[in-house]
Each structure stands twice: as structure tokens, then as C-alpha cells.
Symmetry: C2
């Protein structure tokens, strides 16, 4: 179902896509792009990242990715399912410098803008504008995390699934159920049964 992926991006296309994601004036966008590296990833490509700090972040300009951990039984646990406009990486590790066990896999052909912590911190220190931007990023990260807490704390797996359908139908329809189930905190079998229950009702 995924539409054909763009294999060539012009600087102008990257700039306007980024502008649509982080709404800043053109010269600020260019400034930000000066610390970024653009990269394409094929579907199913994995970025393994074991036992060191996550000292960079990526912004998904296009495509989809999962950020996941591997549990003691070798099973994947999908911590995040990200789509166009979302960030990939481990922001907690990025901030604290603590090691991260997160890996990334692209679930669709994807285009990503990467920047690393050193350059980002330098940008933030260069101008109060960018410091305010950095606060804005952390504010958003907090709000997103709080929303995830609310889902895990207040809702049942079934309600979380219904929520995801409503809020992100693109994810539901483009991503294998086994990835969705662990994101919801359940097994693929349980998701299958939840779907069955919902159809019968």
C-alpha cells in the first residue's frame, strides 16, 4: 500500500518539508539545516545501537520507523512507532548522555534529517532564540511522554488499540500487527483476539 518513495530530494524540497514540521522562518530553517545531515533508508533497514549514549537524533521527513528494545527473551518491544514529522532516537539518552539500548528499524522507505548533540548544543548556546527552541522541543517531548503515560495508565489494551486506530490510521494500515501489538504492550495473539472481539461486537 505505501506509495512509491522519493529517491531524490532537492535542497528546496528538504527545506520546505522541514518547514512544514518545525514552523520557523526561512533563515532559521537554513540555520538549522546547517547542522543536519540528510539520509535515505530502505524499508526494513535497521540501525543497531547497543550500549552507548544516543548522541544524535533524526527527524523523519518521510516514511515510518520503530524505536525498539530487545527483552531478555530476545523479543522486540516497540517503544515508539514514528511517522513523518516525528523524531527518532532516544531523547532521554540524548539529554543525559546515559547509554541507550534502543534500536531503530525503518518500516517504510524513509528520509531522515540527522543532527548530533554537540552541534545541537552549540546551536542552542549561539542564540537565545535557539535556546527557546530547545525548550520548546523538551516541552513537546514531555507532552508526548505524558500522553503515553495517560494511555498506559488510564486505558486498557483494547482502548489503546481503538485510540491508535482513531489517532493514527496510517500506522494501523501500513505496519505489521506484530509491531503494533508490542507498542500497545500486548502480544500479537492478544491483539488478534481483541480485533476479533471488536468485529463481533
Amino acid at each position: 500500500m505505501p506509495r512509491k518513495s522519493k529517491l531524490v530530494w532537492t535542497a528546496q524540497q528538504i527545506e520546505s518539508k522541514l518547514q512544514a514540521i518545525i514552523n520557523l522562518p526561512e533563515y532559521r530553517i537554513k540555520e538549522f539545516l546547517s547542522i543536519c545531515e540528510f539520509k535515505l533508508h530502505s524499508k526494513n533497514e535497521i540501525i543497531y545501537h547497543y550500549e552507548h549514549p544516543f548522541d544524535y537524533l533524526g527527524i523523519l521527513l518521510h516514511g515510518a520507523a520503530r524505536v525498539y528494545f530487545v527483552d531478555e527473551n530476545g523479543e522486540d518491544l516497540n517503544y515508539l512507532l514514528q511517522v513523518e514529522g516525528d523524531a527518532i532516537g532516544d531523547y532521554a539518552s540524548f539529554l543525559t548522555g546515559e547509554i541507550s539500548k534502543a534500536h531503530i528499524q525503518f518500516l517504510l522507505p524513509s528520509a531522515v534529517l540527522y543532527f548530533n548533540k554537540k552541534d545541537f548544543d552549540q546551536l542552542l548556546n549561539s542564540d537565545p532564540f535557539w535556546l527557546a527552541f530547545g525548550k520548546f522541543v523538551s516541552d513537546k517531548a514531555f507532552i508526548n511522554a505524558k500522553n503515553r503515560i495517560d494511555e498506559l495508565y488510564f486505558l486498557t489494551p483494547e482502548q489503546r488499540y481503538l485510540n491508535l486506530i482513531k489517532k493514527a490510521p496510517k500506522i494501523i494500515h501500513n505496519i505489521p500487527q506484530k509491531h503494533i501489538s508490542t507498542y500497545l504492550g500486548i502480544t500479537p495473539q492478544s491483539l488478534s483476539r481483541i480485533r476479533k472481539r471488536l468485529i463481533q461486537a
Copy 2:
């Protein structure tokens, strides 16, 4: 078991307690205190807060409090159990201006420093130092939220309980179990059974 609460606080005591919580130079502490209001609360005192934005925050200098919601059955759900040094309020609502349904109840006699959003934003805009401080606060809020997600996502209720014993024995021993159980995301009955299981093992 709670030790006798202090009923009178000198300006010096407030300042040094705050300094121990947010590690800033003395003149910055004084600057921050200029937007704060100090208040004492008795045990079990409730701050009801229904259907409007949470436009202030509090810093617990002493005591303990729960931040909670009331579900559709009228049951309390304890979202946060906070102790000395922690913040009380709803930071997401504070940031976004969206309405909050959180209430606060003090579980021990408590001393709190309050500040409101208008003054805080003004402080942040007055100096890049305070802007950086604001980012630091959001960073911390995010890290805390991420830790809560990890507990809810990766751990069973039993593991969460064991974690809480290890990380916050003060909470366990000073706060009624019915409050601890809903914080863990389970009923008081289930917490009672978990405790029984653990004793037998």
C-alpha cells in the same frame, strides 16, 4: 510516624531548603523566590481544581502530596505521589494552557512554594539564564515522565511495587496503601494480594 511538622519557617530556612532542591547561586535563588508564595498545608487538606488550566505550580519543601484524578465511578486515581523536593500541579496543563482535572491532596503536613505561569514566563524571558533554567525544568519533567512510561510499559504491577519500595521507602511507609495501589495502576485488593505473595516467597 511522621515527625512533627515545622509550623514556622524563616526566610533563611525557605531559601536554604530551596537551594538544596534547585542548585543555583544565592542571588538566583532570591530572584526565583521573588515570584514565589510560601504556604503551609495541613494533613489531608485538598486543593480541588476542576475544569480550568493549571496556571501555577508548587514545589514541596516539606511533606508529601498526591496529584490525582477522579474516574467515571468516582474513584481516585493517584497520578503522582510527591515528596520533599518534588513539584505539584499539572505541568502539561501549565505549559499548554489546556484545562486540567487534577486535584491535589496533602498526605502529611506540608510546606509549599507556589509560583504562577505569568510570573514564571516573565522570569524566563528576562534573561537567557532563566530560559536555560526553564529548559532544564522541561528536560527533567521529560526524564521523569519517561521513567514512568518505562515502569508502566516494561514492568508488571508486582515489579512496580518492588521498585517503589526500593526507590521511595518513605512513601511506602508513610502513605496509606490505597493511595499506593492506584499509583501503581491496580486496586487496593490486588496490592494486598501482591504483598501476601511476596511475604510467602
